[in-house]
Amino acid sequence: MDCSIDKRGFMIFNDVTILSKKILVGFLIYIIPLTIVAGGLWLIRILLTR
């Protein structure tokens, strides 16, 4: 199988931008539910301990 990469086939700045945007979207999809769930569980403790 030919794995060689020509000059036009290698990652360019535009690809890095797309990759960065993708990682940002992924991070937001991770951090928002985590904040709601972990924050909610922490709130349960605070509210019911009082």
Binding site: M1, D2, C3, I5, D6, R8, G9, F10, M11, I12, D15, I18, L19, K21, K22, I23, V25, G26, F27, I29, Y30, I32, P33, L34, I36, V37, A38, G40, L41, L43, I44, R45, L47, L48, T49
Partner: protein
């Protein structure tokens, strides 16, 4: 390529609803403890919950415990062997497709554990010091509910956005490029798509916080459902065939992904009234598609799968785009290739209130589509 404004508004609205869905299990847990007057965290010994496995399922325990290593491989191979025995791959599993399926199945098993291991064992203790097992007081049923919603709803959004945001499509394209269905489809992904799966890291964080056992059970159930939904074995067919099973079918097809509803997502056309490749995004739960009206429920199976503009791109381009590009002219994965090769407009949003049975599709429960163009 800009996003359609109507679609952008719909995404924003659905994300707002999702915030409430994420909070739902936590709210139920709050009400449970508030009504019972219990505060189990006060004398929390951080002892993990234990669940007694029924005797007849004991032989599956090692598979469950090792689901992230060899357990999943065993399940996949068993399902795959059944598919081969039934001759369900026909002659579409060419050498090129075989290579992609095998690379996508095996390589992440080797490449991903160091990443997730570092995240779980090094990064999380560094980012959240002293918080390990903080939530181990949560009852198993509640932890299961929390993880099931958090993990699968997150995967729904990750998946949906890779279809609806044009710049993300090419990371997910490999999953749709095969002109057949089979258990191998469940793992046929671009590596970058898999490596940044948000729900992996979300669930790993919740495991670190003390929800390990519920996470294990959710993972096992989810693995079975997603594998069987991608499988070419139509296990759901008897539920549609026999009238006595119709009530069960009604619940099943709304709750979880079935071969019928998920194969619809992998169809290469929407013209037959069965395919819905711009909807049916649910992974374990189909319920999200019902709530957000992105799904159609079909009791038929598409006749053709894949993408119309597939150019049989090289395995390395499909596995590692954009690091490696395809040399096929005009391919979405080629340098200077189109962002989205599909010319069909975004019309796959379906609304239950406009339900109109189609005479030619008496077996099919469908939601009449409304174009948002």
């Amino acid at each position: 390529m800009p996003i359609d404004k109507t679609l952008a508004r719909k995404i924003t609205k659905d994300i707002s609803v999702s915030l409430l869905l994420y909070a739902l299990p936590v709210t139920v847990l709050f009400l449970y403890f508030a009504l019972k007057g219990e505060t189990p965290w006060v004398n929390n010994t951080h002892t993990p919950a234990a669940v007694n496995v029924p005797a007849f399922l004991k032989f599956l325990t090692p598979v469950f415990k090792n689901i992230h290593s060899w357990g999943f491989i065993v399940i996949a191979l068993v399902v795959g062997a059944a598919e081969f025995a039934l001759g369900l791959y026909d002659n579409k599993w060419t050498k090129s497709e075989r290579t992609i399926d095998i690379v996508c199945f095996l390589a992440p098993k080797l490449l991903l554990p160091p990443v997730t291991g570092y995240f779980s064992l090094k990064l999380l203790p560094w980012l959240l010091p002293g918080l390990a097992n903080q939530f181990s007081w949560i009852p198993f049923w509640a932890g299961f509910f929390i993880i099931a919603v958090a993990d699968d709803l997150t995967q729904y959004w990750y998946h949906r956005l890779h279809h609806q945001l044009p710049f993300l499509w090419r990371f997910h394209r490999t999953h749709h490029s095969a002109p057949y269905m089979g258990m191998a489809m469940a793992g046929r992904q671009n590596f970058i798509y898999t490596a940044f799966f948000s729900q992996i890291y979300l669930t790993a964080t919740l495991v670190y916080l003390g929800l390990g056992l519920p996470a294990l059970f959710v993972t096992v159930i989810k693995s079975f459902i997603t594998l069987s939904a991608h499988s070419s074995i139509p296990w759901d067919k008897p539920f549609y065939k026999y009238r006595v099973l119709h009530p069960v079918a009604w619940v099943l097809e709304r709750l979880i992904s079935t071969p019928a509803t998920h194969q619809s997502h992998h169809a290469d056309t929407v013209d037959d009234g069965v395919g819905n490749y711009k909807g049916n995004f649910g992974n374990m739960f189909f319920l999200w598609d019902i709530i957000f009206k992105t799904g159609i429920i079909t009791r038929r199976y598409p006749t053709t799968f894949g993408i119309k503009f597939y150019k049989q791109e090289e395995w390395y381009a499909q596995f590692l785009w954009p690091i490696f590009k395809s040399k096929k002219p005009g391919s979405e994965l080629a340098a200077n290739g189109p962002e989205v090769g599909d010319e069909i407009p975004e019309t796959a949003l379906y609304y239950e209130e406009d339900f109109v049975p189609r005479p030619q599709e008496l077996e099919k429960v469908a939601y009449q589509g409304l174009s948002n163009n």
